[in-house]
Amino acid sequence: MGNTSTLFKGLKEFFIEIGDLSNFATRFFKEVLKPPFEFKELMRQCYQMGNRSLVLVTITGFIIGLVLTLQSRPTLIQFGAVSWMPNMVGISIVREIGPVITALICAGRIASGIGAELGSMRVTEQIDAMEVSGTNPFKYLVITRIMATTLMIPILVIYGDLVALYGSALVENLKGDVSFQLYFNTVFDALSFSDLVPATIKSFFFGFAIGLVGCFKGYYSKKGTAGVGVAANTAVVMASLLLFVIDFIAVFISDIFYEL
């Protein structure tokens, strides 16, 4: 009995949260095209986000490429298909693993960063101070950050893909005597337009989701220093969940196109 009511309450809160998040997104679309535009702040955010995530994306991308190749090798050798390695690794990285891993890393790094930053600005009345001094804080803080993640995540994804492929090529080069040039030529031959386009579109949505959730959690952060921690923390959880939902939908849609 008690369990049902807590479950019901949890579900209700979940749907209220989804509703608030959609309202926040609606406000973004309403205000994004209205001047004034904060270009300088947008550039600053793009630079900072790229800068802050670059090392992490490099390390994880490299290791993923390396590990994926090392672990697939014995199986492919068993089937005498080791020459298919670039095709297999290339397609799985570009289509799925690259975007998802990079976006998850960025959810941890960027969404939590935005959540904490805006949360502490809310708690210490900096957002109020901004509004009082005639600058629309939603435009200055939220729109610039959501735009920055939407632009930067796809770039980071492409970069992460390349690093992962390099990691994979390194293994093949050392263990299988495949030259880098041959490896990359095979990969690019194997990849078709229909691999790249959906993955890139998906990455834009990932970026949007990361910025949206980080800003939403931070902007409406509860008072008190505890509120900042909660904002950062829930931003990561919610952004990561949303990424998988988007990924599921994206795979579903692109699957329909492959069938055609």
Binding site: T124, Q126, D128, A129, V132, G134, T135
Partner: protein, 264 residues
Amino acid sequence: MNFNMTDPNQIITSNETLPRGKAVIEIKDLYKSFGNNHVLNGFNMTLMEGENLVVMGKSGSGKSVMIKCLVGLVKPDRGTVKVLGKEINALDQKTLDELRSDIGFLFQGSALYDSMTVRENLEFPMRRHKEKLGAVTDTEPLVREALENVGLAHTMDLMPVELSGGMKRRVALARTLILKPKVILYDEPTSGLDPITSKEIIELMRSIQKKYGTSSLIITHDVDCARVISERMILLVDGINYAEGTYSQLSQSTDPKVDAFFKK
């Protein structure tokens, strides 16, 4: 410390247009609740031009909520709020922003932007109010002047984290003054500061008020601050203006709720 300011006429330009004895802020019958928490229950207040009015109330009594209604940061449930003759809640965004540039707001915790230097903090209010400053394109002299007013010109290129609490409050005050407001709202200007620094801030507020004749609304629960700075006081109790009068009138009151404020 350096309190001297440059030509006063330059700072307050349009104050002359408001004759003395005119109300700059009028709050009538203000109600505000958050869910079941009825914070303001019919609060009334008038701030006269050139006056130092102190509103005192316990922590959580709704002082910050009240002062935020004055700049449209909080929308009241009922009641009218007139600032410089304009009804705040009836204004469109543009007029509201223009009016806000005539109101200085010193936040309870200073609210300096952490990601910006002191200079950028002071420049920030100017980015949307170029009209008010006329043909000013070089903001440097304005920033320098405002910082000199609070004796902190040397901190121009520091980040807020590098400042002490008292210095932050003074920089925040400089930021409040940079658009030359006609009314200044102080939300607990001395909260979180030691007694000596509090005194410095109070001195600074007095010197600003004296030199420029700005009207000030000071919110506090610090009795010493109220004694030094107030010309008139209002006690905010149970969401209403419970008592009004000068410091000496109120401190001699026998009403237990009033007396509680002045007991040491």
